[in-house]
Amino acid sequence: MTDLTTPTPGVGTRPEPVSLYVHVPFCVSKCAYCDFYSQAGGGELHAPFVDAALFEAGHWSHYDLLDDVPTLYIGGGTPTLLADGLVRLVEGLFETANVRPDAEVTIETNPETTDAALVARLIEAGVTRFSLGVQSFDDDVLKTLGRCHDAEKAREATRILRDSGAAFSIDLICGVPGQTPGSWVATLEEAVRCGARHLSVYPLSVEEGTPLAASIAGGRLPAPDPDEAADMMLAAEVALTAEGMLRYEVASYAQPGHEARHNLVYWTGGSYLGVGPHAASMLTMAQYRSVADGEGWESPPDGVPGPARVRFTREVSLTDYLRRPLQAPVPLEFLSAAEAAREDAMLGLRLASGITSSQAADAGVLEVLSELDGQGLVRVREAVDGEAIWTTTERGWLLGNRVFGAIWTAGQPSRP
């Protein structure tokens, strides 16, 4: 088990660093399982999008939100599809925002757009890390997923990244209909050999409205078998920890020191600002107020206890975003201190480091935790400083919805 020290979230009392996320809504083509907001191609919109994103980031910098950026993540979509545009975006963001010298700067990429020259230019511009969507090293599995690359292309991309010298992570998916245990083990072996110091391992989830969901509903593909997915998740744990990787989050493995810092911000209640259509932001109330006052955005609802944080997503279409990159976000979600604490507890239990008993007490979930303990889903141990630490068991991680659901809905009235 990892003994990772995670940043302690402050709750809206002092100015806090804000991480920056940019959502690039373009892909070469849509994968069968994906329900993220992105569109295939759209070449004529790439340059206008980079303009809009830089304009938007520049605007927020006036509110001092980007004065001390600890992590920057450009995700999507497939940011590397922008090619030159992406270099311009990174350079522009470095001009606009005060990115810490030791910041983690990650670019999400896919094999078909991972180009050695582009990677070199991005590193030159300040990028420190890449996250490559491999998903599988098995052509049949890639076909089922509707990926637009084959295994060979994925291997080539990993070589480019390894040779570039930058840190990189790869994403893998298990529980795919037709994926055999042998195929999965082979993919895992290749993944640890390719030089990635970080791996994300997800069981496939069938999202409503995707071509994959339609194929399953139409009987052209069997539904993913949850037992097979469970076996594969266990196989991943065994194979990857044997190679010296630590499972520091339910779906994330890393060589010590190579944990994804940007993701840890999401999981520990840190502040982040999202740029682009469909990007999410979370700010402390103090940070939000300065923006809301300046922009004339919605004020938090009255009442005690006052909100501690606000999360918002814009959820506008790309064309709408290009027309008006600064429109007010809807919906806004004001989280009370109690809700924020519960959310931190829920996310904390996704991490190997777990949550402390005082964190659990603040969130009002100690009782729920003992129940989950009784079911073998969490466990408690004494840490060095005397405070007890609650962590999720392997079984609890597999049945994560039970754990996270129980934590989040604790303290909510049983009849709304």
Partner: protein, 600 residues
């Protein structure tokens, strides 16, 4: 008081969906009873549930004034009746209040089972029947064929059948002319003691029980003291009036008139459909014929999903019964489901409607157990028990025999589906009686069948196997002995009383097996393995297993995902609330109805 010779009392009768309520709407418009701007669809169906489902549940009466071609203004009382077989008795009482009936037949569907059943009822009530072929505006309308069917199937001359469209209003005036000319005016003795027929009643929160009545002899006026002959209740007449369709008080209602009577009574069960209203003193000696106590046909357990809502369910049933005294209920407790009520209904549609009204009008979440009939259990000591619930079935050793209600079932179907009906009825322990061709396009088939089989998804199967063409009518004939056994279902080794059902012993094995298979699909995987067993008298006859859930995890959880996934978790928790916790197992509601679907 209106001169009886200027009164025409008539009903509109039809098979369900043949357009009865829409025609009634047109009559109200044509006679300016309701102005066009105030018109809504299905005016007389005032309950939301009636409009949504396009059905009539409660009888209604409305007085319209119609100036006929002869220049005379007639008073027409239109009595709208429920169209479903569950409400046959109510329909028969409504027909007793009339001298004529407009028999509506859909020009595209032709004569169907309840067309026949309603027409026979109208004939038995000696009503003048005016055939009307409706929906002639539809491209697939075939009025000639339908005319032919009416003559052949019902022996009603149809050469003068009115051709009409409730949608466009065409033929509606002709129908009213026909009513004025052919329906006899009411005849009664204005000097005889009051006799009025109650053909419906309902509860008004401000005025108490209001009865819809038809005066046969004498008259009724506010201030009179009257007696309801069957229930023996004596009450004051607070008000009488007519419905147009808003209540308009009148001084009195005389021979042949139809209107409402405000009793001030608080208990609807005292004011029974079919009862006779007479004077409390020197009243009539003989009630009107045809009254009977309405008996429930099907029973089900209704349980609140949230056990805390039991008192609310009791209140809701008490209130609902004010408007629908045909619902009966008594407390029932189940190990699996906690406290609830065993409720009796007139039929499956009635059951569905009541459940929906309880949930909707009283904001309850209810779970219904599989419907059952009333079994007569004769014990070896000679005692007879009426059993409404499998749970109450005595130990097999103490039982001499069990009898169950049998039906005379009539199915009307196009000839090409005769084979399909034969197959279906075979599955349902039916005995074929006979069949006859009503016309080249319609065959009438008669069967004897246990009611318990009819409520086993028979109607849905009938519809799907005949692409919706078959229609059904039935009546209870008698009780007959059957070799019945109680089948228990065990979840994780523990019997779940609410899943028990009574079944013919020859079908027990097959149904037990199918039910366990069905339940395996319905019961979600739990944190542990759940064996599902079917047993008769402690002997296991079928077993399936729901394997333990091993994986249930939300994968990605980054910025925007967090609120999205959190909402998903909340939704999941709400979904669980719709499930019933039986011991440690979460059981979805549909599990308790699964037995009805085992013949799919």
């Amino acid at each position: 008081m209106t001169d009886p010779t200027l009164i025409r009392n008539f009903s509109i009768i039809a098979h369900i969906d043949h357009g009865k309520s829409t025609l009634a709407d047109r009559v109200l418009q044509l006679t300016h009873t309701i102005e066009d701007r105030d018109m809504v669809e299905q005016v007389l169906d005032s309950m939301d549930i009636e409009r949504e489902r396009g059905i009539t549940i409660k009888a209604q009466a409305v007085r319209v004034l119609y100036t006929a071609d002869d220049g005379v203004e007639y008073t027409l009382n239109l009595i709208d009746t429920p169209g479903h077989v569950d409400f046959t008795y109510e329909v028969s009482r409504s027909l007793q209040a009339c001298e004529g009936a407009v028999l509506v037949v859909d020009a595209t569907q032709g004569v169907e089972a309840q067309t026949v059943a309603n027409a026979i009822m109208a004939m038995n009530a000696h009503l003048e029947i005016i055939p009307l072929i409706n929906k002639i505006d539809l491209p697939s309308a075939d009025p000639e064929r339908v005319r032919h069917e009416i003559e052949e199937a019902l022996a009603i001359p149809a050469d003068e059948a009115v051709l009409a469209s409730g949608k466009t209003g065409e033929g509606v005036r002709e129908a009213l002319e026909s009513v004025v000319r052919h329906v006899p005016h009411p005849v009664g003795d204005p000097h005889a003691p009051l006799k009025a027929l109650i053909f419906d009643s309902y509860f008004d929160a401000y005025r108490g029980v209001v009865a819809l009545i038809r005066v046969i002899d004498g008259h009724i006026a506010a201030g009179m003291k009257v007696q309801l002959m069957a229930s023996g209740t004596v009450t004051d007449v607070e008000e009488v009036g007519v419905r147009r369709p808003v209540h308009v008080p009148v001084k009195q209602l005389g021979v042949g008139e139809v209107g409402y009577l405000v009793t001030g009574l608080k208990d609807t069960s005292l004011v029974k459909v079919g009862d006779t209203v007479t004077l409390a003193k020197h009243g009539a000696t003989e009630p009107l014929p045809g009254y009977r106590e309405v008996k429930p046909m099907v029973y089900t357990g209704l349980f609140p999903i949230d056990g805390d809502q039991y008192p609310e369910l009791r209140d809701a049933l008490d209130k609902l019964r004010l408007n629908d005294p045909s619902v009966i209920y008594e407390p029932e407790s189940s190990h699996a489901l906690g406290f609830g009520f065993r409720c009796g209904f007139l039929g499956l549609l009635h059951m569905e409607i009541v459940k929906e009204r309880l949930e909707r009008e009283f904001d309850l979440d209810l779970l219904a157990t599989a419907p059952s009939v009333e079994y007569h259990v004769y014990k070896t000591n000679g005692e007879m028990l009426s059993i409404h619930s499998p749970q109450d079935m005595p130990e097999p050793g103490t039982v001499d025999r069990i009898e169950e209600p049998y039906l005379k079932v009539t199915v009307l179907v196009p000839p090409e589906f005769v084979g399909a009906i034969m197959e279906l009825t075979e599955l349902h322990r039916s005995t074929f009686v006979n069949m006859q061709y009503l016309s080249g396009t319609t065959v009438e088939m008669h069967y004897e069948m246990p009611l318990s089989e009819l409520i086993m998804d028979f109607f849905d199967q009938l519809k799907s196997r005949t692409r919706g063409y078959a229609s059904l009518d039935y009546e209870v004939t008698d009780y007959r002995p059957s070799a019945l056994v109680k089948l228990d279902v065990l979840l994780a080794g523990k019997p779940v009383d609410a899943l028990s059902f009574i079944v013919h012993k020859d079908k027990a094995f097959a149904r037990g097996k199918m039910l366990t298979e069905k339940l395996r699909g319905i019961i979600p995987r739990q944190m542990f393995e759940v064996p599902i067993q079917a047993a008769i008298g402690g002997k296991i006859i079928a077993r399936e297993t729901v394997r333990a859930m091993r994986k249930d995890v939300i994968a990605k959880c980054y910025g925007g995902d967090i609120s999205r996934k959190r909402k998903l978790l909340e939704k999941q928790k709400k979904g669980k609330k719709r499930m019933k916790q039986v011991g440690t197992i979460e059981v979805p509601q549909e599990a308790f109805m699964a037995i009805l679907k085992v013949d799919d």
